[in-house]
Protein backbone atom coordinates (compact mmCIF):
# COMPACT_ATOMS: atom_id res chain seq x y z
CA UNK A 1 0.00 0.00 0.00
CA UNK A 2 2.67 2.53 1.10
CA UNK A 3 6.30 1.53 0.72
CA UNK A 4 9.42 3.62 1.32
CA UNK A 5 12.71 2.21 0.03
CA UNK A 6 15.82 4.03 1.27
CA UNK A 7 14.20 7.42 0.92
CA UNK A 8 16.25 10.53 1.64
CA UNK A 9 14.93 14.06 1.55
CA UNK A 10 17.18 17.09 1.76
CA UNK A 11 15.48 20.48 1.58
CA UNK A 12 17.06 23.18 -0.59
CA UNK A 13 18.14 24.86 2.63
CA UNK A 14 20.43 21.90 3.28
CA UNK A 15 18.35 20.34 6.06
CA UNK A 16 18.24 16.59 5.76
CA UNK A 17 14.69 15.94 7.01
CA UNK A 18 14.54 12.24 6.12
CA UNK A 19 17.56 9.96 5.95
CA UNK A 20 17.51 6.55 4.28
CA UNK A 21 13.99 5.69 5.46
CA UNK A 22 12.56 2.28 4.63
CA UNK A 23 9.20 0.94 5.83
CA UNK A 24 6.05 -0.50 4.44
CA UNK A 25 2.44 -0.03 5.56
CA UNK A 26 -0.03 -2.66 4.38
CA UNK A 27 -3.61 -2.30 3.30
CA UNK A 28 -5.96 -1.89 6.26
CA UNK A 29 -3.20 -1.01 8.74
CA UNK A 30 -3.33 1.82 11.27
CA UNK A 31 0.10 3.39 11.75
CA UNK A 32 1.24 6.27 13.96
CA UNK A 33 4.26 8.37 13.00
CA UNK A 34 5.83 9.71 16.16
CA UNK A 35 8.92 11.72 16.98
CA UNK A 36 9.90 15.03 18.50
CA UNK A 37 9.28 18.32 16.81
CA UNK A 38 11.38 18.72 13.67
CA UNK A 39 12.13 15.01 13.43
CA UNK A 40 10.65 14.73 9.92
CA UNK A 41 7.07 13.44 10.37
CA UNK A 42 5.45 16.08 8.20
CA UNK A 43 8.15 15.61 5.61
CA UNK A 44 7.30 11.91 5.39
CA UNK A 45 3.66 12.83 4.86
CA UNK A 46 4.55 15.41 2.22
CA UNK A 47 6.55 12.77 0.41
CA UNK A 48 3.53 10.45 0.41
CA UNK A 49 1.35 13.28 -0.96
CA UNK A 50 4.03 14.11 -3.52
CA UNK A 51 4.08 17.64 -2.16
CA UNK A 52 7.84 17.23 -1.85
CA UNK A 53 10.19 15.22 -4.05
CA UNK A 54 12.55 12.65 -2.58
CA UNK A 55 16.25 13.12 -3.38
CA UNK A 56 16.91 9.43 -3.50
CA UNK A 57 15.13 6.14 -2.91
CA UNK A 58 11.71 5.01 -4.09
CA UNK A 59 8.17 5.57 -2.85
CA UNK A 60 5.52 3.09 -3.91
CA UNK A 61 1.84 3.85 -3.38
CA UNK A 62 -0.84 1.27 -4.19
CA UNK A 63 1.69 -0.74 -6.15
CA UNK A 64 2.75 2.23 -8.26
CA UNK A 65 6.18 3.84 -8.01
CA UNK A 66 5.46 7.54 -7.61
CA UNK A 67 9.08 8.63 -7.34
CA UNK A 68 9.06 9.96 -10.88
CA UNK A 69 5.36 10.73 -11.16
CA UNK A 70 4.67 13.57 -13.61
CA UNK A 71 3.26 16.72 -11.96
CA UNK A 72 0.19 16.34 -14.17
CA UNK A 73 -0.59 12.99 -12.54
CA UNK A 74 -0.22 14.22 -8.94
CA UNK A 75 -3.91 15.25 -8.58
CA UNK A 76 -4.93 11.71 -9.48
CA UNK A 77 -2.55 10.26 -6.89
CA UNK A 78 -4.09 12.53 -4.25
CA UNK A 79 -7.58 11.37 -5.12
CA UNK A 80 -6.64 7.92 -3.89
CA UNK A 81 -5.98 9.33 -0.41
CA UNK A 82 -7.96 11.46 2.01
CA UNK A 83 -5.88 14.07 3.82
CA UNK A 84 -6.51 15.70 7.20
CA UNK A 85 -4.39 18.45 8.77
CA UNK A 86 -4.01 20.05 12.16
CA UNK A 87 -5.50 23.33 10.89
CA UNK A 88 -8.58 21.73 9.22
CA UNK A 89 -8.11 23.61 5.90
CA UNK A 90 -11.76 24.15 5.05
CA UNK A 91 -12.97 26.63 2.43
CA UNK A 92 -14.23 29.53 4.58
CA UNK A 93 -16.98 30.79 2.25
CA UNK A 94 -18.50 27.40 1.60
CA UNK A 95 -20.92 25.62 3.90
CA UNK A 96 -20.20 22.28 5.54
CA UNK A 97 -22.19 20.58 2.80
CA UNK A 98 -20.40 22.52 0.04
CA UNK A 99 -16.97 21.82 1.49
CA UNK A 100 -17.61 18.10 1.33
CA UNK A 101 -19.46 18.21 -2.00
CA UNK A 102 -16.59 20.20 -3.48
CA UNK A 103 -14.22 17.27 -3.10
CA UNK A 104 -16.66 15.15 -5.07
CA UNK A 105 -17.22 17.84 -7.64
CA UNK A 106 -13.48 18.03 -8.28
CA UNK A 107 -13.35 14.36 -9.18
CA UNK A 108 -16.35 14.88 -11.49
CA UNK A 109 -18.91 12.84 -9.59
CA UNK A 110 -22.45 13.07 -10.91
CA UNK A 111 -24.81 15.50 -9.10
CA UNK A 112 -27.01 12.54 -8.22
CA UNK A 113 -24.12 10.68 -6.60
CA UNK A 114 -23.07 13.86 -4.75
CA UNK A 115 -26.59 14.36 -3.40
CA UNK A 116 -26.61 10.85 -2.00
CA UNK A 117 -23.01 10.54 -0.78
CA UNK A 118 -22.53 13.90 1.03
CA UNK A 119 -25.40 13.45 3.55
CA UNK A 120 -24.19 9.91 4.11
CA UNK A 121 -20.63 10.86 5.14
CA UNK A 122 -21.90 13.85 7.13
CA UNK A 123 -24.08 11.46 9.14
CA UNK A 124 -21.03 9.21 9.64
CA UNK A 125 -19.15 12.04 11.32
CA UNK A 126 -22.30 13.19 13.15
CA UNK A 127 -22.75 16.52 11.39
CA UNK A 128 -26.05 16.03 9.58
CA UNK A 129 -27.64 18.91 11.49
CA UNK A 130 -24.86 21.38 10.70
CA UNK A 131 -24.65 20.92 6.95
CA UNK A 132 -25.77 24.48 6.18
CA UNK A 133 -23.31 26.15 8.56
CA UNK A 134 -20.05 27.85 7.66
CA UNK A 135 -16.68 26.75 9.11
CA UNK A 136 -16.39 29.84 11.32
CA UNK A 137 -19.68 28.88 12.97
CA UNK A 138 -18.30 25.51 14.10
CA UNK A 139 -16.11 24.36 16.98
CA UNK A 140 -12.63 23.02 16.24
CA UNK A 141 -13.76 19.43 16.71
CA UNK A 142 -16.67 19.96 14.34
CA UNK A 143 -14.42 21.57 11.76
CA UNK A 144 -12.08 18.61 11.96
CA UNK A 145 -15.02 16.29 11.48
CA UNK A 146 -15.95 18.21 8.32
CA UNK A 147 -12.37 17.77 7.14
CA UNK A 148 -12.63 14.07 7.90
CA UNK A 149 -15.92 13.83 5.99
CA UNK A 150 -14.26 15.56 3.05
CA UNK A 151 -11.33 13.16 3.24
CA UNK A 152 -13.72 10.18 3.25
CA UNK A 153 -16.28 11.27 0.71
CA UNK A 154 -14.53 9.85 -2.34
CA UNK A 155 -13.94 6.48 -0.65
CA UNK A 156 -10.13 6.71 -0.62
CA UNK A 157 -8.07 3.61 0.11
CA UNK A 158 -6.11 5.50 2.77
CA UNK A 159 -6.40 8.43 5.14
CA UNK A 160 -3.23 10.48 5.69
CA UNK A 161 -3.44 12.69 8.76
CA UNK A 162 -0.82 15.15 10.04
CA UNK A 163 -1.52 15.87 13.73
CA UNK A 164 -5.30 15.86 13.26
CA UNK A 165 -5.83 16.31 17.00
CA UNK A 166 -3.14 18.95 17.45
CA UNK A 167 -5.59 21.83 17.82
CA UNK A 168 -8.24 19.99 19.84
CA UNK A 169 -8.91 19.46 23.54
CA UNK A 170 -8.50 15.85 24.78
CA UNK A 171 -12.21 14.90 24.66
CA UNK A 172 -12.69 16.26 21.15
CA UNK A 173 -9.44 14.62 20.13
CA UNK A 174 -10.82 11.27 21.21
CA UNK A 175 -13.98 11.86 19.14
CA UNK A 176 -11.78 12.20 16.09
CA UNK A 177 -9.66 9.17 17.06
CA UNK A 178 -12.77 7.03 17.49
CA UNK A 179 -13.94 8.08 14.04
CA UNK A 180 -10.54 7.26 12.55
CA UNK A 181 -10.56 3.88 14.31
CA UNK A 182 -14.02 3.12 12.94
CA UNK A 183 -12.95 4.14 9.44
CA UNK A 184 -9.91 1.88 9.78
CA UNK A 185 -12.09 -1.05 10.95
CA UNK A 186 -14.05 -0.75 7.69
CA UNK A 187 -10.82 -1.38 5.79
CA UNK A 188 -9.32 2.04 5.13
CA UNK A 189 -5.59 2.36 5.80
CA UNK A 190 -4.77 5.17 8.26
CA UNK A 191 -1.40 6.90 8.61
CA UNK A 192 -1.26 9.54 11.31
CA UNK A 193 1.57 11.76 12.51
CA UNK A 194 1.06 12.83 16.11
CA UNK A 195 2.55 14.14 19.35
CA UNK A 196 -0.34 12.82 21.46
CA UNK A 197 1.30 10.27 23.82
CA UNK A 198 -1.88 9.10 25.54
CA UNK A 199 -3.65 8.47 22.25
CA UNK A 200 -0.76 6.41 20.89
CA UNK A 201 -0.37 4.53 24.16
CA UNK A 202 -4.09 3.76 24.50
CA UNK A 203 -4.78 2.71 20.90
CA UNK A 204 -2.06 0.04 20.74
CA UNK A 205 -1.48 0.40 17.02
CA UNK A 206 1.65 0.20 14.96
CA UNK A 207 4.16 2.95 15.83
CA UNK A 208 6.88 4.20 13.51
CA UNK A 209 9.26 6.47 15.40
CA UNK A 210 11.52 8.90 13.62
CA UNK A 211 14.37 10.82 15.16
CA UNK A 212 16.33 13.47 13.28
CA UNK A 213 15.14 12.03 9.99
CA UNK A 214 16.08 8.45 10.82
CA UNK A 215 13.54 5.72 11.55
CA UNK A 216 14.60 4.43 14.94
CA UNK A 217 11.71 2.13 15.87
CA UNK A 218 8.84 0.27 14.21
CA UNK A 219 6.60 -1.57 16.71
CA UNK A 220 3.57 -3.63 15.65
CA UNK A 221 1.65 -2.68 18.80
CA UNK A 222 3.69 -0.01 20.42
CA UNK A 223 3.50 2.90 22.78
CA UNK A 224 4.55 6.47 22.15
CA UNK A 225 8.13 5.72 23.14
CA UNK A 226 9.90 2.50 24.08
CA UNK A 227 10.70 3.74 27.61
CA UNK A 228 7.01 3.93 28.60
Amino acid sequence: MIEFKNVTKVYTTGTEAVHDASFSIDKGEFAFLVGSSGSGKSTLIKLILKEEEANSGNIIINGKDITYLKPKRVPYLRRSMGVVFQDFRLLPDKTVYENVAFAMYIVKSTPKHIRRQVPYVLSQVGLSEKSKMYPNELSGGEQQRVALARALVNNPSMIIADEPTGNLDPDTAWDIMNLLDEINRRGTTVVMATHAKDIVNTMKKRVIQINKGIIVRDDKKGGYSSEV
Partner: protein
Protein backbone atom coordinates in the same frame (compact mmCIF):
# COMPACT_ATOMS: atom_id res chain seq x y z
CA UNK B 1 -21.18 37.37 5.73
CA UNK B 2 -23.03 36.71 2.51
CA UNK B 3 -24.49 33.24 2.41
CA UNK B 4 -24.64 31.28 -0.78
CA UNK B 5 -26.92 28.44 0.20
CA UNK B 6 -27.28 25.52 -2.11
CA UNK B 7 -24.76 26.40 -4.80
CA UNK B 8 -23.02 23.10 -4.29
CA UNK B 9 -26.27 21.26 -4.82
CA UNK B 10 -26.43 22.45 -8.39
CA UNK B 11 -22.73 22.11 -9.14
CA UNK B 12 -21.93 21.51 -12.72
CA UNK B 13 -18.96 22.60 -14.81
CA UNK B 14 -20.43 25.69 -16.35
CA UNK B 15 -22.27 27.21 -13.38
CA UNK B 16 -19.21 26.56 -11.22
CA UNK B 17 -16.90 28.39 -13.61
CA UNK B 18 -19.23 31.33 -14.11
CA UNK B 19 -20.26 31.76 -10.48
CA UNK B 20 -16.68 31.46 -9.19
CA UNK B 21 -15.40 33.76 -11.96
CA UNK B 22 -17.97 36.45 -11.11
CA UNK B 23 -17.34 36.06 -7.41
CA UNK B 24 -13.61 36.69 -8.06
CA UNK B 25 -14.48 39.82 -10.04
CA UNK B 26 -16.56 41.22 -7.19
CA UNK B 27 -14.34 40.08 -4.32
CA UNK B 28 -11.40 42.00 -5.75
CA UNK B 29 -13.29 45.22 -6.50
CA UNK B 30 -10.31 47.56 -6.40
CA UNK B 31 -8.19 45.43 -8.68
CA UNK B 32 -11.10 44.93 -11.05
CA UNK B 33 -11.63 48.70 -11.28
CA UNK B 34 -7.94 49.35 -11.94
CA UNK B 35 -7.84 46.70 -14.65
CA UNK B 36 -11.02 47.97 -16.24
CA UNK B 37 -9.81 51.56 -16.32
CA UNK B 38 -6.39 50.67 -17.73
CA UNK B 39 -7.86 48.41 -20.35
CA UNK B 40 -10.44 51.00 -21.34
CA UNK B 41 -7.76 53.71 -21.62
CA UNK B 42 -5.56 51.41 -23.66
CA UNK B 43 -8.29 50.31 -26.00
CA UNK B 44 -9.67 53.85 -26.28
CA UNK B 45 -6.29 55.20 -27.35
CA UNK B 46 -5.91 52.40 -29.82
CA UNK B 47 -9.41 53.15 -31.15
CA UNK B 48 -8.64 56.86 -31.46
CA UNK B 49 -5.40 56.19 -33.35
CA UNK B 50 -7.21 53.72 -35.56
CA UNK B 51 -10.08 56.14 -36.28
CA UNK B 52 -7.65 58.93 -37.20
CA UNK B 53 -5.71 56.61 -39.47
CA UNK B 54 -8.80 55.34 -41.23
CA UNK B 55 -10.10 58.87 -41.73
CA UNK B 56 -6.82 60.14 -43.15
CA UNK B 57 -6.95 57.29 -45.66
CA UNK B 58 -10.54 58.08 -46.44
CA UNK B 59 -9.86 61.79 -46.92
CA UNK B 60 -6.84 60.95 -49.08
CA UNK B 61 -8.99 58.91 -51.36
CA UNK B 62 -11.50 61.70 -51.68
CA UNK B 63 -8.81 64.30 -52.36
CA UNK B 64 -7.11 62.07 -54.85
CA UNK B 65 -10.38 61.35 -56.57
CA UNK B 66 -11.21 65.05 -56.84
CA UNK B 67 -7.76 65.87 -58.15
CA UNK B 68 -7.68 63.51 -61.05
CA UNK B 69 -4.66 63.07 -63.32
CA UNK B 70 -3.36 65.91 -65.45
CA UNK B 71 -1.97 64.81 -68.81
CA UNK B 72 0.14 67.48 -70.55
CA UNK B 73 0.12 67.51 -74.33
CA UNK B 74 3.20 68.11 -76.47
CA UNK B 75 3.25 71.64 -77.85
CA UNK B 76 3.80 70.43 -81.38
CA UNK B 77 0.74 68.16 -81.39
CA UNK B 78 -1.86 69.08 -84.02
CA UNK B 79 -5.55 69.49 -83.21
CA UNK B 80 -6.23 66.18 -84.89
CA UNK B 81 -3.57 64.37 -82.83
CA UNK B 82 -4.99 65.99 -79.70
CA UNK B 83 -8.47 64.68 -80.54
CA UNK B 84 -7.10 61.17 -81.14
CA UNK B 85 -5.32 61.29 -77.79
CA UNK B 86 -8.54 62.35 -76.06
CA UNK B 87 -10.54 59.48 -77.52
CA UNK B 88 -7.78 57.01 -76.68
CA UNK B 89 -7.67 58.16 -73.06
CA UNK B 90 -11.46 57.87 -72.86
CA UNK B 91 -11.21 54.23 -73.94
CA UNK B 92 -8.96 53.29 -71.00
CA UNK B 93 -10.65 51.21 -68.29
CA UNK B 94 -11.20 53.28 -65.16
CA UNK B 95 -11.45 56.70 -66.81
CA UNK B 96 -14.68 58.55 -66.15
CA UNK B 97 -14.29 62.02 -67.72
CA UNK B 98 -11.65 63.79 -69.78
CA UNK B 99 -11.66 67.60 -69.86
CA UNK B 100 -9.51 69.64 -72.22
CA UNK B 101 -7.59 72.59 -70.77
CA UNK B 102 -6.15 74.87 -73.47
CA UNK B 103 -2.88 76.81 -73.22
CA UNK B 104 -4.88 79.98 -72.62
CA UNK B 105 -6.80 78.39 -69.77
CA UNK B 106 -3.59 77.04 -68.31
CA UNK B 107 -2.13 80.53 -68.37
CA UNK B 108 -5.28 81.95 -66.80
CA UNK B 109 -5.18 79.49 -63.94
CA UNK B 110 -1.46 80.10 -63.51
CA UNK B 111 -2.18 83.83 -63.30
CA UNK B 112 -4.86 83.08 -60.77
CA UNK B 113 -2.45 81.06 -58.59
CA UNK B 114 0.28 83.67 -58.83
CA UNK B 115 -1.90 86.75 -58.57
CA UNK B 116 0.00 87.92 -55.52
CA UNK B 117 3.21 87.91 -57.55
CA UNK B 118 2.28 89.12 -61.05
CA UNK B 119 5.95 89.69 -61.91
CA UNK B 120 6.68 86.01 -61.75
CA UNK B 121 4.84 85.21 -64.94
CA UNK B 122 4.67 88.67 -66.52
CA UNK B 123 6.98 87.77 -69.38
CA UNK B 124 5.20 84.59 -70.40
CA UNK B 125 1.95 86.11 -71.60
CA UNK B 126 2.52 85.66 -75.33
CA UNK B 127 4.71 82.62 -75.31
CA UNK B 128 2.13 80.02 -74.34
CA UNK B 129 4.71 78.23 -72.27
CA UNK B 130 1.97 76.58 -70.28
CA UNK B 131 1.12 73.43 -72.18
CA UNK B 132 -2.42 72.36 -72.93
CA UNK B 133 -3.62 69.33 -70.94
CA UNK B 134 -6.38 66.85 -70.28
CA UNK B 135 -7.80 66.58 -66.79
CA UNK B 136 -8.62 62.88 -66.43
CA UNK B 137 -11.02 61.88 -63.70
CA UNK B 138 -11.16 58.28 -62.57
CA UNK B 139 -14.09 56.02 -61.77
CA UNK B 140 -12.10 54.11 -59.25
CA UNK B 141 -8.99 55.18 -57.43
CA UNK B 142 -7.50 51.72 -57.36
CA UNK B 143 -7.15 51.91 -61.15
CA UNK B 144 -5.05 55.08 -60.99
CA UNK B 145 -1.76 53.33 -61.53
CA UNK B 146 -2.98 51.30 -64.50
CA UNK B 147 -4.52 54.34 -66.14
CA UNK B 148 -1.35 56.35 -65.65
CA UNK B 149 0.92 53.73 -67.12
CA UNK B 150 -1.37 53.23 -70.13
CA UNK B 151 -1.48 56.99 -70.80
CA UNK B 152 2.32 57.16 -70.55
CA UNK B 153 2.55 54.84 -73.56
CA UNK B 154 0.34 57.05 -75.76
CA UNK B 155 1.74 59.43 -78.34
CA UNK B 156 1.92 63.18 -77.91
CA UNK B 157 1.92 62.95 -74.10
CA UNK B 158 4.48 65.32 -72.64
CA UNK B 159 4.20 64.23 -69.06
CA UNK B 160 1.69 63.25 -66.39
CA UNK B 161 1.05 64.82 -63.02
CA UNK B 162 -0.91 62.62 -60.68
CA UNK B 163 0.24 63.59 -57.25
CA UNK B 164 0.84 67.00 -55.85
CA UNK B 165 2.20 68.25 -52.57
CA UNK B 166 -1.07 67.78 -50.70
CA UNK B 167 -1.22 64.19 -51.78
CA UNK B 168 2.33 63.52 -50.74
CA UNK B 169 1.81 65.12 -47.38
CA UNK B 170 -1.36 63.17 -46.78
CA UNK B 171 0.42 60.03 -47.82
CA UNK B 172 3.23 60.65 -45.37
CA UNK B 173 0.78 61.43 -42.60
CA UNK B 174 -1.20 58.27 -43.19
CA UNK B 175 1.95 56.17 -43.20
CA UNK B 176 3.13 57.83 -40.02
CA UNK B 177 -0.19 57.17 -38.40
CA UNK B 178 -0.13 53.56 -39.49
CA UNK B 179 3.25 53.09 -37.80
CA UNK B 180 2.07 55.00 -34.75
CA UNK B 181 -0.96 52.73 -34.47
CA UNK B 182 1.22 49.65 -34.50
CA UNK B 183 3.56 51.07 -31.87
CA UNK B 184 0.71 52.31 -29.67
CA UNK B 185 -1.02 48.98 -30.10
CA UNK B 186 1.99 46.91 -29.08
CA UNK B 187 2.71 49.15 -26.10
CA UNK B 188 -0.85 49.14 -24.87
CA UNK B 189 -1.12 45.40 -25.31
CA UNK B 190 1.83 44.88 -22.97
CA UNK B 191 0.57 47.42 -20.43
CA UNK B 192 -2.97 46.07 -20.38
CA UNK B 193 -1.73 42.52 -20.05
CA UNK B 194 0.60 43.41 -17.18
CA UNK B 195 -2.15 45.22 -15.30
CA UNK B 196 -4.75 42.52 -15.66
CA UNK B 197 -2.20 39.89 -14.81
CA UNK B 198 -1.36 41.78 -11.61
CA UNK B 199 -5.02 42.11 -10.72
CA UNK B 200 -5.56 38.41 -11.02
CA UNK B 201 -2.35 37.78 -9.12
CA UNK B 202 -3.98 39.70 -6.26
CA UNK B 203 -7.08 37.51 -6.40
CA UNK B 204 -4.96 34.39 -6.66
CA UNK B 205 -2.81 35.56 -3.76
CA UNK B 206 -5.86 36.30 -1.63
CA UNK B 207 -7.13 32.83 -2.43
CA UNK B 208 -3.86 30.92 -2.22
CA UNK B 209 -5.10 29.01 0.80
CA UNK B 210 -8.16 27.85 -1.07
CA UNK B 211 -6.00 26.92 -4.03
CA UNK B 212 -3.74 24.80 -1.87
CA UNK B 213 -6.76 23.12 -0.30
CA UNK B 214 -8.10 22.34 -3.75
CA UNK B 215 -4.76 20.83 -4.67
CA UNK B 216 -4.79 18.58 -1.59
CA UNK B 217 -8.22 17.32 -2.51
CA UNK B 218 -6.86 16.37 -5.94
CA UNK B 219 -8.01 19.23 -8.15
CA UNK B 220 -6.15 19.49 -11.46
CA UNK B 221 -4.43 22.73 -12.42
CA UNK B 222 -6.83 23.39 -15.24
CA UNK B 223 -9.75 23.01 -12.87
CA UNK B 224 -8.22 25.56 -10.48
CA UNK B 225 -7.28 27.90 -13.29
CA UNK B 226 -10.79 27.94 -14.79
CA UNK B 227 -12.46 30.55 -12.55
CA UNK B 228 -9.45 32.87 -12.83
CA UNK B 229 -9.55 32.66 -16.60
CA UNK B 230 -13.24 33.48 -16.44
CA UNK B 231 -12.39 36.44 -14.20
CA UNK B 232 -9.96 37.73 -16.81
CA UNK B 233 -12.41 37.15 -19.63
CA UNK B 234 -15.19 38.98 -17.78
CA UNK B 235 -12.96 42.00 -17.10
CA UNK B 236 -11.72 42.03 -20.70
CA UNK B 237 -15.19 41.71 -22.14
CA UNK B 238 -16.69 44.42 -19.95
CA UNK B 239 -13.77 46.72 -20.79
CA UNK B 240 -14.36 46.08 -24.50
CA UNK B 241 -18.06 46.90 -24.22
CA UNK B 242 -17.47 50.10 -22.26
CA UNK B 243 -14.79 51.20 -24.71
CA UNK B 244 -17.08 50.59 -27.67
CA UNK B 245 -19.73 52.79 -26.05
CA UNK B 246 -17.22 55.51 -25.16
CA UNK B 247 -15.60 55.58 -28.56
CA UNK B 248 -18.97 55.77 -30.28
CA UNK B 249 -19.97 58.82 -28.28
CA UNK B 250 -16.57 60.51 -28.58
CA UNK B 251 -16.23 59.79 -32.28
CA UNK B 252 -19.66 61.07 -33.15
CA UNK B 253 -19.01 64.25 -31.18
CA UNK B 254 -15.60 64.97 -32.71
CA UNK B 255 -16.57 64.08 -36.28
CA UNK B 256 -19.67 66.24 -36.19
CA UNK B 257 -17.47 69.12 -35.05
CA UNK B 258 -14.84 68.61 -37.75
CA UNK B 259 -17.29 68.04 -40.59
CA UNK B 260 -19.10 71.30 -39.91
CA UNK B 261 -15.83 73.24 -40.26
CA UNK B 262 -15.47 75.55 -43.28
CA UNK B 263 -12.44 73.85 -44.87
CA UNK B 264 -14.04 70.45 -45.16
CA UNK B 265 -17.34 71.99 -46.28
CA UNK B 266 -15.72 73.91 -49.15
CA UNK B 267 -13.55 70.96 -50.14
CA UNK B 268 -16.67 68.77 -50.06
CA UNK B 269 -14.91 66.14 -47.96
CA UNK B 270 -16.71 63.89 -45.50
CA UNK B 271 -15.35 61.68 -42.72
CA UNK B 272 -16.21 58.07 -41.99
CA UNK B 273 -19.47 57.46 -40.19
CA UNK B 274 -18.96 56.07 -36.68
CA UNK B 275 -20.73 52.86 -37.60
CA UNK B 276 -18.00 52.09 -40.14
CA UNK B 277 -15.24 52.60 -37.59
CA UNK B 278 -17.13 50.54 -35.04
CA UNK B 279 -17.68 47.72 -37.46
CA UNK B 280 -13.93 47.50 -37.93
CA UNK B 281 -12.92 48.05 -34.34
CA UNK B 282 -15.51 46.31 -32.19
CA UNK B 283 -14.58 42.77 -33.16
CA UNK B 284 -10.94 43.67 -32.52
CA UNK B 285 -11.94 45.05 -29.12
CA UNK B 286 -13.85 42.01 -27.99
CA UNK B 287 -11.17 39.60 -29.21
CA UNK B 288 -8.47 41.79 -27.71
CA UNK B 289 -10.24 42.28 -24.39
CA UNK B 290 -11.03 38.63 -23.94
CA UNK B 291 -7.56 37.61 -25.16
CA UNK B 292 -5.73 40.00 -22.86
CA UNK B 293 -7.88 38.83 -19.97
CA UNK B 294 -7.23 35.19 -20.67
CA UNK B 295 -3.49 35.38 -21.21
CA UNK B 296 -3.06 37.87 -18.39
CA UNK B 297 -4.67 35.48 -15.95
CA UNK B 298 -2.83 32.44 -17.29
CA UNK B 299 0.51 34.16 -16.66
CA UNK B 300 -0.46 35.20 -13.16
CA UNK B 301 -1.37 31.67 -12.05
CA UNK B 302 1.87 29.83 -12.68
CA UNK B 303 3.56 30.37 -9.33
CA UNK B 304 0.57 29.37 -7.25
CA UNK B 305 -0.08 26.04 -8.85
CA UNK B 306 3.06 24.41 -7.50
CA UNK B 307 1.86 22.73 -4.33
Amino acid sequence: MIKKVGIAVRYNGFTYLISEGFSNVFKNKKGTMISLITMICAMFMFGAAFAIGQNVNYVMEQVQASQGIEVFILNEATDEQTNTLESEIKKIDGVSTVTYKSKEQALESAKESFKEYPDAIAGYTEEYIFPASFIVMLTDLSKAEGVESTIATLENVKNIRSSNDTMNTLFKISNGIRIAIIVVFAGLLVIAMTIISNTIKLTVHARRKEISIMKYVGATNSFIRGPFLVEGIIIGFVAACITIALITIAYDYVVTGIESSDILQTMNITLLHYSEILRMVSVVYVVLGVGIGMFGSAFSMKKYLEV
